[in-house]
């Protein structure tokens, strides 16, 4: 997957380049609006990350230039949390936006969503190590023993299982499990994870549900016990 990052802040460019490259993206960078518009129209990208505040030509100008020729998905980064900016961007054909400061995980999630053209046919039976999650009969078993989960706990587990190996932020989990799209300081995710972990990993030596401090949670098999804080 090729991504074009149009951003003039050197540090942001640096971490986006290395972060996205590590995630398997091919990253091209443009440091100003004119160069960005030229690259975006001249070459083919799967998705474009576009800052609003840019030298020479601002993000909206770049977006118009791109939309005049192509319909590459564009995600805009806005510094100001103003509705006008968002409306402006979306009306001109941006596909999504993120308000700075944003988290890298969130950006990855959005980029994946924009490029995942009709998610590959999903299996209804997911296995992670000795864990089996059956999305249709809504049953989960570990090592052949059925886990006694509440509806919400099962939903949380299935969200984690579907994206096994991916770090899911609390924001994303809140959105996918409870359909709540604001961050809450109510410790909902922490509590749910704690309960799920007790049922899922409690009796087992090999832990599957891992906390990535400061980032979120991931469901995966780790070689040597892994890190669960």
């Amino acid at each position: 997957m090729k991504v074009l990052v149009i951003e003039d802040e050197r540090k942001v460019v640096d971490y986006l380049r290395s972060g996205l490259t590590e995630q398997g993206w091919v990253v091209d960078v443009a440091m100003d609006g004119e160069e960005g518009a030229w690259m975006a129209t001249e070459y083919d990208f799967d998705v474009i990350v576009l800052d609003v505040m840019l030298p020479k030509l601002d993000g909206f100008g770049v977006l118009r230039a791109v939309r005049a020729k192509k319909d590459t998905p564009v995600i805009m980064l806005t510094a100001r949390d103003r509705v006008d900016d968002r409306v402006h961007g979306l009306r001109d054909g941006a596909d999504d936006y993120l308000t700075k400061p944003f988290s890298f995980l969130e950006l990855i999630e959005r980029l994946r969503a924009l490029t995942r053209r009709a998610r590959a046919q999903e299996s209804t039976l997911i296995s992670v190590g000795d864990l089996q999650v059956d999305l249709i009969s809504r049953r989960a078993t570990r090592d052949g023993v059925r886990l006694d989960l509440t509806a919400k706990e099962f939903q949380l587990l299935s969200v984690l299982a579907r994206r096994r190996g991916e770090i899911l932020s609390k924001t994303l989990i809140t959105e996918l499990v409870w359909d709540v799209n604001f961050e809450s300081n109510a410790n909902v995710v922490e509590t749910a994870i704690k309960r799920l972990r007790a049922k899922l990993d409690g009796p087992h030596a090999a832990k599957l549900l891992h906390t990535i401090r400061g980032m979120g949670y991931v469901l995966e098999v780790r070689e040597e016990g892994g890190q669960t804080s």
Binding site: V83, V87, T99, F182, E183, S184, N185, A186, G214
Partner: protein
């Protein structure tokens, strides 16, 4: 800027006095004119009567010669007086007719005649002298020119005009001085106002020493200053709070990073530092996003993407979300009432969730919370009550202020940065409502209201893209 008040006033004074002076002058002029013409007419009549007596006593031609002599004697050399006798018999005539344009009629048998080439009139008096002896009836016309009278009137008129002009100018100048003097309190007021500066915010205008017209102005101005001062103060302490709030994570970040870098550390140790850094950064991000959200409502922004929903359903949605924390805190929740309103469901959810979180933090395990939806006139009140110690009135007044924390809550400041209830307030204001807090009978109630019709903000989603996003109208990364 408009012209100065004193200039306008003196111009108006001058205009008024010009009108008054002109009217008075015109009155005087016409009175004078009448008097002078009456006098002129009377003296003319006297002369005409004498002349008509002379004519009447000449019944034959011999006597007529004497009449002619007499009349010639009566006509002075400067030809100011004219005598003219006309009749059917050429022997009984005298003088030349007075020719000219008739310009006025000033009495029963008096005419004003303007001879050609002259700029003054001649006033004539006409008598009919009945026939006597040989003499047929004749007409006697006596004329006197008005040079003196009209000349006098003209110079009087000119003098009047000059006087009026001079007095008007004098009035204008004097009234300029007078209005300046009269407006001195205003000047003083503006000088006083000019001295107001942000460095001395306690300063107010001295309204007592002002005339009543300005008193009200000064009082309302002082009121405005008072309100600005309050807002300024709030902003100042808000800035201080923000700085304080940011200082803790920033100093943790600097400190632990420096500690990590002073020695060679294992990968695990460095990872731990980075993870801890990340937690602090998250905290900073949340604060920054919340501040941005609050500043949106400060700017008077209204909620968008409104939908008509049952507020009870929204409450229950949030209860579903908060089910586990409520269970952990061993709290039960009763829901009462229902009403529909036009709201942004995500913003309302956020406000409701913050109310519940607040109640969870301040409730003892085993108690029951009460959530109510109460329709009022044009508004709907949403409130969450929890049993608890009565709240101090001072606390009640400030509980919705930013970063306001009751002392006990400061201990867990890491999770609770004190913006939760001010976000409730912001959401209420974005929906044309307000917040309230009640404390009675061992129950504390926190709540907010929303306008049933969504305030004046109800409108269709702005762009199709927003509807597709389904969340574009809301802050995505803001937390309660």
């Amino acid at each position: 800027m408009k012209r100065s008040i004193s200039l306008r006033l003196s111009a108006m004074f001058a205009a008024v006095s010009l009108i008054v002076f002109t009217l008075t002058g015109a009155g005087l002029f016409f009175l004078m004119q009448r008097q002078l013409f009456n006098e002129l007419r009377e003296s003319l009549d006297t002369r005409a009567r004498i002349a008509s007596l002379i004519v009447a006593h000449a019944p034959d031609v011999q006597k007529w010669a004497f009449v002619q002599e007499k009349l010639r004697d009566l006509s002075p050399a400067d030809s100011r007086m004219h005598y003219y006798v006309e009749g059917p018999d050429p022997r009984f005539r005298f003088g030349t007719p007075i020719v000219g344009k008739i310009t006025g009629n000033v009495g029963p048998n008096h005419l004003l005649v303007r001879p050609p080439g002259s700029s003054y009139d001649i006033i004539t008096s006409t008598f009919i002298v009945p026939a006597s002896g040989d003499r047929p009836q004749v007409t006697l016309v006596v004329g006197s020119d008005c040079v003196r009278t009209e000349g006098m009137l003209r110079s009087f008129g000119i003098a009047l005009g000059v006087l009026i002009a001079l007095s008007t100018i004098a009035v204008a100048l004097l009234s300029r001085a007078v209005t300046r003097f009269g407006l001195a309190p205003l000047t003083r007021l503006s000088r006083e106002a000019a001295q107001l500066s942000p460095s001395n915010r306690r300063q107010r205008l001295h309204s007592d020493a002002l005339p009543e017209e300005l008193h009200e102005l000064a009082t309302s101005f002082n009121g405005a200053l008072e309100r600005l001062d309050k807002a300024y103060e709030r902003l100042e302490s808000f800035n201080a709070d923000v700085a304080h709030e940011l200082r803790t994570p920033v100093s943790i970040l600097i400190g632990q990073t420096q500690v990590a870098l002073t020695r060679d550390r294992s990968v695990e140790q460095l990872q731990q530092t980075l993870q801890s850094n990340l937690e602090e950064f998250e905290r900073l991000r949340v604060i920054v996003n919340d501040m941005l959200f609050l500043s949106r409502s400060d700017r008077g922004e209204r909620a968008t993407d409104l939908a008509e929903v049952s507020l009870r359903a929204e409450l229950e949605r949030m209860l579903d979300f908060l089910e586990m924390p409520l269970e952990e805190a061993q709290l039960r929740v009763e829901v009462q009432g229902d009403a529909r309103a036009w709201v942004n469901t995500s913003l309302i959810g956020r406000a409701v969730s913050n109310l519940f979180v607040n109640a969870i933090q301040h409730s003892q395990p085993g108690t029951t919370l009460c959530a109510t939806v109460a329709p009022q006139d044009g508004h709907v009140e949403i409130a969450v009550s929890n049993p608890g110690e009565p709240l101090d009135p001072v606390v009640r007044e400030h509980i919705f202020d930013r970063f306001y924390r009751i002392q006990e809550a400061r201990s867990n400041s890491h999770e609770n940065h004190g913006l939760g209830l001010s976000i409730v307030k912001a959401v209420a204001e974005m929906h044309g409502g307000t917040v309230f807090v009640r404390s009675a009978d061992g129950v504390n109630t926190f709540g907010f209201s929303v306008a049933v019709d969504g305030g004046d903000a109800r409108e269709a989603p702005v762009a199709a893209g927003i509807a597709r996003q389904g969340r574009a109208g809301l802050p995505l990364h803001v937390s309660p």
